[in-house]
Each structure stands twice: as structure tokens, then as C-alpha cells.
């Protein structure tokens, strides 16, 4: 297993989030989530729908990186101009994204850090579609560098809905809030703890629960049976390689380490 990379293990762990999701749009933003959605479609969950990243639905996931403009083969059409009607507000989507911060309630931030709404210390992208995504359809997350600046007790600006009871407005319908998986360079987590608390469900080879807890800015739950994250199969590795012919994924995790962490 020494030649299996951690990033490939993460792609496989992320792809598990899309298993048996049915006929919905699987959106992976960034190289690892996108490879994960493609891997899911080409292996265990072929009924998934996805776009070419621009406007067309494709049945053959589009590889990462430079290629011919017309290499994609559209099977359907889902431009931004129909996205809210068809995919987001209908709940027919599962997105996997990488926000700047995520807190103990699963609330996420990609708007600004520090300062105030009127004068942020660090302006980021803006909330984009996160408020709508998180109240209407399932969401999962991938973080290539698990650390206390990402996993914070409380995000600076709540850009996506989590399980914070203080943010539940009376009479509001929060039944669509469905946070599924968090995959990082250290472990896989879900929201299966008491009151949807974040829970570690598997550790990547060579990582301990204590390592994960030390890199997290809030207290984590521990699954009763804490598994080791499984390694990719030869078939999965071949599919990943075919979807990433330029090996863009090699630059996602610092130093592109092997799947098994070296002993400290």
C-alpha cells in the first residue's frame, strides 16, 4: 500500500458520501470532491446526475484539467439559469464543498473572517449558494488540511445552515437540513453524535482519535466502532487516474503523502 496516496484514499472516502443517493445531481466543487462524484457515478452509483461544470448534464464525468473544448458529450442541460428551479430548491442535489470554516454545529463560512459585516478584516467569496444549498439539499465537506483554524467553535459568519438550536426560527421549516459527511486528510466524520454532534467514524491509516481531536477546535464524538478508512481498490485507482489525467489531485494535500501516515 506504500504507493497508494492519501489523496486517492480521500477521493474514495468522499465518493462513499454519494453511494446510493439516487437520481440527484452530485456536485463536487474542487478536484477531490469532483473526482469523488465521478468515481461514485462510474462505480457504485451510476444513476447519479452531474454537470460538466458549466451548463450541460453529462453521463460520462468530465476529466479534470486541459482537454478539447468539445470533448464533453452533453446528455442534458442544467445551466445556472435553471439551477435553483431544478436542482437546489427541489432538493435534488448533493453538494460536496470546502468552506473556509466549519463549526461544532456544522455551520459553515465562506463570506468573511474577522471584523464586521460593514468592515470585514478578511473578505472572502461571499455566501454564494450555501444558504440555499444547506436548507434544501444534502451537503458534505472535504478539507485537505484538518486544523483548528478550519474546525472552529463558532464560525465568523454563518453562511450555511447547521444544527445550531439558537438559529432555529420558530415556524421555520428546517426539514431539508441534511449534513452528511466530512472527509479530511485525517479522518471521516458524520453528524451522528447526540443532537447531530460531529462524530469521527473512521481514521485514516496511522492516525489516532487524539490526533484528530488535537487538530479540531471543538470536542468531537467518537463512534462506538471506530474503523480504519479503507484503501482504494485497484479498480477505483484506475477510474480516479482516468478522470485526472494531469494528476491535478497530487497538489491538493500538502506534500502529497502516502495513504498510511508515517509514525511520528
Amino acid at each position: 500500500m506504500s504507493d497508494i496516496s492519501l489523496v486517492d484514499l480521500c477521493v474514495v472516502a468522499c465518493s462513499e458520501a454519494f453511494r446510493d443517493n439516487g437520481e440527484i445531481v452530485a456536485t463536487g466543487v474542487g478536484p477531490v470532491p469532483r473526482l469523488a462524484a465521478g468515481l461514485a457515478k462510474l462505480t457504485h452509483t451510476p444513476e447519479l446526475m452531474m454537470t460538466d461544470g458549466e451548463a450541460y448534464l453529462v453521463e460520462q464525468p468530465v476529466p479534470l484539467g486541459p482537454r478539447a473544448y468539445d470533448a464533453r458529450k452533453p446528455a442534458g442541460y442544467l445551466p445556472f439559469s435553471r439551477f435553483f428551479d431544478s436542482a437546489v430548491w427541489s432538493g435534488r442535489r448533493h453538494a460536496m464543498v470546502t468552506p473556509t470554516q466549519l463549526d461544532r454545529f456544522g455551520q459553515i463560512n465562506l463570506s468573511y473572517m474577522g471584523g464586521s459585516y460593514d468592515k470585514p478584516k478578511t473578505q472572502m467569496l461571499g455566501v454564494r449558494g450555501f444558504p440555499g444549498n444547506t436548507i434544501y439539499h444534502p451537503n458534505s465537506f472535504f478539507f485537505p488540511a484538518h486544523g483548528p483554524r478550519v474546525f472552529v467553535p463558532q464560525v465568523d459568519m454563518i453562511s450555511g445552515v447547521g444544527y445550531n438550536p439558537a438559529k432555529r426560527i420558530a415556524g421555520g421549516n428546517f426539514s431539508g437540513v441534511d449534513l452528511r459527511r466530512i472527509v479530511t486528510n485525517l479522518c471521516v466524520m458524520d453528524f451522528g453524535g447526540p443532537d447531530h454532534r460531529i462524530r469521527v467514524i473512521s481514521l485514516h491509516p496511522g492516525v489516532t482519535f487524539e490526533d484528530v481531536q488535537a487538530a479540531t477546535g471543538f470536542e468531537l464524538c467518537r463512534a462506538d466502532e471506530l474503523a480504519e478508512t479503507r484503501l482504494p481498490t485497484a479498480e477505483e485507482l484506475a477510474v480516479i487516474a482516468s478522470l485526472d489525467p494531469h494528476n491535478i489531485r497530487a497538489s491538493v494535500i500538502k506534500d502529497n503523502p502516502p495513504a498510511k501516515r508515517a509514525a511520528a
Binding site: 445551466p79 439559469s81 435553483f84 463570506s111 473578505q123 455566501v127 454564494r128 440555499g132 434544501y136 421555520g172
Partner: protein
Amino acid sequence: MSAAEIVAQLSDGMTIGIGGWGPRRKPMALVREILRSDLKDLTVVAYGGADVGMLCAAGKVKKLVFAFVSLDAIPLEPWFRKARESGVLEVLELDEGMFQWGLKAAAFGLPFLPTRVGLGTDLAELGRLKTVQSPYADGETLIAMPALKLDAALIHVNRSDWRGNVQVFGPDVYYDEWFAKAAARTYVSCEELVDRMEDHYPESAQANLFERCFVSGVVEMPCGAHPSSMPPHYGWDMKAFKAYADAARDPGEWGAVADRFVAASEAAYLQSIGGKEAVAALALPIF
């Protein structure tokens, strides 16, 4: 009309919607014309890219209504960041879906449209958005997304005739239709102007994204989306975006670089970027 005549119809303090999406199909020639004018104190409503960044950098913007401002491959728009971090902008930050919902409310002449989006986040509180309760048995509490009424909208299209019969191509039309309908007046720049659409491209009438009653003025501006993308004519100019983004760090003063990114006239601008041939050679982006 000329671009200058269009801008002359705008006035200080107006709320202006700008079509396109991030670095895609922005009416940049009209934005540059605003940058050459004395217009000020604008409220800008946009799925923002360099249009927002430039107007902010030049101090034209009093208030910004946005869901993001980004150049895609350059995720964080540096001039927009600078303006935000200096605290000079009033803002209303919205979810992308709420944003188009607000345009639709304006288009239909409604004060608001209800939505679940925004509940459970900081948007409502920070943006002072109010809630409404469903009058039916469900009694659901929803956010009342206020109408985003525009005094004017600026949109760049592939073709138009002088009456305002537009044709829009490319893989995605974003929410340009709703900008047009949310606005009291919509001004359209186009890659190609024809006298009567029916005499030239009747076979493409289904590309008529919005009807001509929503168009108040038309100007022909070939390459008018540069440096943003305009499929199928040309892709975005990432080199130009990079130079523009780098200038936010060094020298970091818009006044010192405005001439490079705006120029004294559109003809001079086109010449400075290598002319129409250089723009036509920009490859369409691959995602």
C-alpha cells in the same frame, strides 16, 4: 445609441443591475463607459466579477448587492476585497438563489417573494430581512425576500436589432432575463447590431431571451464583454484578469492603473489589448 449616450441617461444614486455571472458575459464596455464618466453613489446589483471590482475600485459604488464577487480561476476578486476591507461599501449580501428571487419579485411588481433560503444563517439578521408567516394551515415562517428593483440594467448580448430584438447564445444565459425585467430601463450592448432581426436571423428567434418591450437602448460593442467571456465569440482573457488582479497589490491604487484597464475610449481600449483579432482568438474556457 452610443455607449456615452446610454451612460448619459444614468444618474448619480441610481440602482444599476449588471448582467452576466462572475467572469462571464459581463457588459464590460458599458462598465468602462461608466468608469469614464462622473457617475457616482451607485447601488450596484450583480453576480459580481471584474465589473464590481472596477466600479468599487473607482469609488463609484455606494452600496453593493451581491452573493459573490469572483473571477473563477482567481477566486477572490482583489479590488472588491480591498473596498470591503476598507469599510467604504454599504452591502446587502444574499444567497445566489435569493438574489434571482429578488429580481423576479421586482419583475412581477411584488414587494417581496417568500423563501426558506436564509433561515438558519446570518443573512437575515445582517441584511435586516424580515419574515412572513404563511396564512394557510401550515403557518410556515419564511423570509420575505424584498424586490430588487433596478433603475437600470446593463446586459451584453450576441445580437440585437435597433428595436431591441435580442438574441443570446452560449451555454448559459444566467439571470439576464430577470435583470431586464426587474429594471425600469434596460440598456443592451451587442456583439452584432442588425437593422431588422427578421431580415437577418429569423431562424434564431428562439434565442430571443427577453422581449423588446424590456429594452430601452441598444449599442453595438464588438468585444464588449472583454475581459469576461462571450461564448461562442470568445473566451475570457485570464491574462488580462491576472494583470488586473496583480495591479491590486502593486501599485494597489486604481488611479495609477485605470488608464490601462479602462482607456480613454473603447477604441483605444480595444487597440491596447490587440484589437478584435486578439479577442476573437481567446479560447472558450474549459471547466
